[in-house]
Symmetry: C2
Subunit: 384 residues, 2 copies
């Protein structure tokens, strides 16, 4: 057994992949590891940009689901608060001491609305709406619990998912919020999710230009009825440059920037090269557990530790081997030069960071090949 690994601590129910101080080579596989230097670089890179652009950053915690990372983004990354996508994520974050939380999504189920109203007694809570009955239900629950819930009207600015049409449909909901007990009208949610992963720079810019146009028109229409938007929110890691420069959006909701992933790195900059301002900081640490053929290594990281919805993972910093097939518990790594041997450990860049993180219970923070910290994926699996 390798030096430094206390296998007796690795018992059922407390199955941590590492201990602080351990060498990276001794971290159990498969595990989710963070290169802390790259992670801090990414957070500082965006912090500087939001300062320069004079906009707020409300970092999206759907990417990481970690109270520790949310705390770091607020304390060191210039974030004014966080976004969650689910009530149960928000509950975890508030329980962890995060006191300014936007649920950038709708909650319409009566039980969830009840829980939201209770949560709003304990922290600043913002939520998105796109339905009149939902506003009525939120108002009743907030009133019943003596809570105040800030509501943003979500508009569909091109992604064709949630949100009412820009313009008068949004104005009608905003007016309803403004006169609803227990609710405050806070502004617009105008996130163009589809634009984030458009490869071509000009096409991506055009998609966001359209979103900016619709959002601006809606802001103007609200102004004509005397409603001011404190928050005009949206943007993700793929598009935030455009929203930050729009003179319209004032709150960015980037999430993936802290980690990056293989898919985001297929997005191109103005010169046609992959965007490079953020570094890969998130990896699946995986071990080779079968090498029965010289040209193929089998690793212990498959569908249950990485999400392939946006493509297969990439082997980090190597072009001599390639992850070519993923099954439930295995990855096939083409190894034409027979470089990988049994128990070699390598880093994979996941195809899509958010659903990959949701598969794990722990982040293992690494610096100079040593384990510096273990952070629980606090809201792992919280889907309500």
């Amino acid at each position: 057994m390798k030096k430094g690994h206390k296998s007796d601590d690795l018992v059922v129910g407390l199955d941590v992949p590492a201990h602080v101080g351990m060498h990276l080579d001794d971290v159990m596989t498969p595990a989710l590891i963070i290169d802390l230097d790259a992670f801090e670089h990414n957070i500082e890179t965006l912090r500087k940009q939001v300062v320069d652009a004079n906009v707020r950053l409300r970092a999206h915690s759907k990417t990481h689901k970690s109270v520790d990372i949310a705390r770091y983004q607020i304390d060191h990354g210039g974030a004014c608060g966080i976004c969650c996508q689910k009530l149960s994520e928000a509950e975890v974050m508030v329980a962890g001491g995060i006191d300014d939380v936007m649920i950038s999504n709708q909650l319409t189920d009566p039980v969830k609305i009840e829980r939201l109203a209770k949560l709003a007694q304990r922290a600043r809570l913002l939520i998105c709406v796109d339905d009149s009955d939902n506003i009525r239900d939120l108002s009743k629950a907030a009133t019943r619990h003596g809570a105040s819930i800030e509501c943003l009207v979500e508009i569909d600015c091109g992604a064709r998912r949630c949100g009412v049409a820009p313009g008068q449909a949004a104005v009608a909901l905003a007016q309803q919020i403004a006169v609803s007990d227990g609710l405050q009208f806070a502004g617009l949610q105008a996130y163009q999710g589809n634009a984030q992963h458009i490869r071509d720079y000009a096409a991506r810019e055009q998609a966001i230009a359209t979103a900016i146009l619709h959002t601006g028109e809606t802001v103007d229409a609200l102004a004509t009825v005397g409603l001011h938007c404190d928050i005009i929110a949206g943007a993700g890691t793929g598009s935030y440059h455009f929203e930050a420069a729009s003179n319209l959006y004032n709150e960015l909701q980037c999430g993936s920037y802290i980690f990056m992933d293989a898919d985001y790195q297929r997005v191109l900059d103005q010169s046609g090269k992959p965007v490079s301002e953020f570094q890969n900081s998130l990896f699946i640490w995986t071990g080779i557990m079968s090498k029965a053929r010289p040209d193929m290594a089998i690793c212990d990281a498959g569908l249950k530790v990485l999400s392939v919805d946006s493509g297969l993972p990439r082997v980090f910093a190597r072009d001599d081997v390639e992850y070519v097939n993923c099954s439930d518990e295995h990855g096939n790594i083409a190894d034409p030069h027979n470089q990988l041997q049994l128990n070699h450990k390598i880093r994979l860049v996941p195809g899509h960071c958010d659903p990959t993180c949701n598969l794990h219970d722990w982040y293992v923070g690494i610096r100079d090949d040593r384990v510096e910290c273990l952070w629980p994926v606090s809201a792992r699996g919280k889907a309500f």
Copy 2:
């Protein structure tokens, strides 16, 4: 709030989606639900077939990762024991009282081998090997802990993943096992994973015929050196008819048959129709949380509660609506006739059951639209 739902019980850290006795309509969304009638039908259907074929069933728990379901398969489903794919799954199962466990996979990491040897002191443990050094390491650990580990030589019978070539390579490993302290040679692991999802019946039959040929030749080669295979194991839900009828395989490792999924139901029978002997028993219960457009409903089940590696989920028992796009926390459901309204709840058949179950903490067992049981996904996330 709906009758019967105790929202105060739904606190952070104990976030169960349901209570026993609750009506299905009140189960929180998204949740993983089991139709218990269909589940029991599936288990009984396979039980009868293994009795008729005079083979053993060692049910694969990688599908469900649940001690409760493993127990049910042994007590009521004719299973002689279970398979796991990971050490940490086996630890959970043994801790839960399952005493006959095959890890149908390789463990080569020294820390994992140490844990395996300890576990083998508490239950019958079988494992697959495809490497000589690994056999040496297993023997040392078993000896050190006074344990006995039964080893199957895994052969690559067509899936091109783990396993040595059939024939002499397998014989050499079997001979090594036979003379290794602490180890017993138990037989062959000959699972043709690629064949499970071949749509066409004849092509699937041919793939398994090839596997049977290679396996039979290896069994014969072992016999010539005096080594008998107690276990000749393999087969999954897509192919088990062939292995059961082979007069060679004597232990089947079906997993998905208990639940089925959208992908397995694209596999065709001899008449060219989708296989129908097993019923859909596993569903994602999801609620509509945005209906801003008449022709599109947005549900609360996305990539974090269902795996799309084998395609999108199917809306169960409805052809008027279709799940057409999946994002992290949302599903877009095309609703051309405006049938779905806010807070409607529907069942989705996941594209691929195994990685979907691994995303959840609880199974909600349903009979006659009432919650009959809650089973933890005991080994959820156990990937070591």
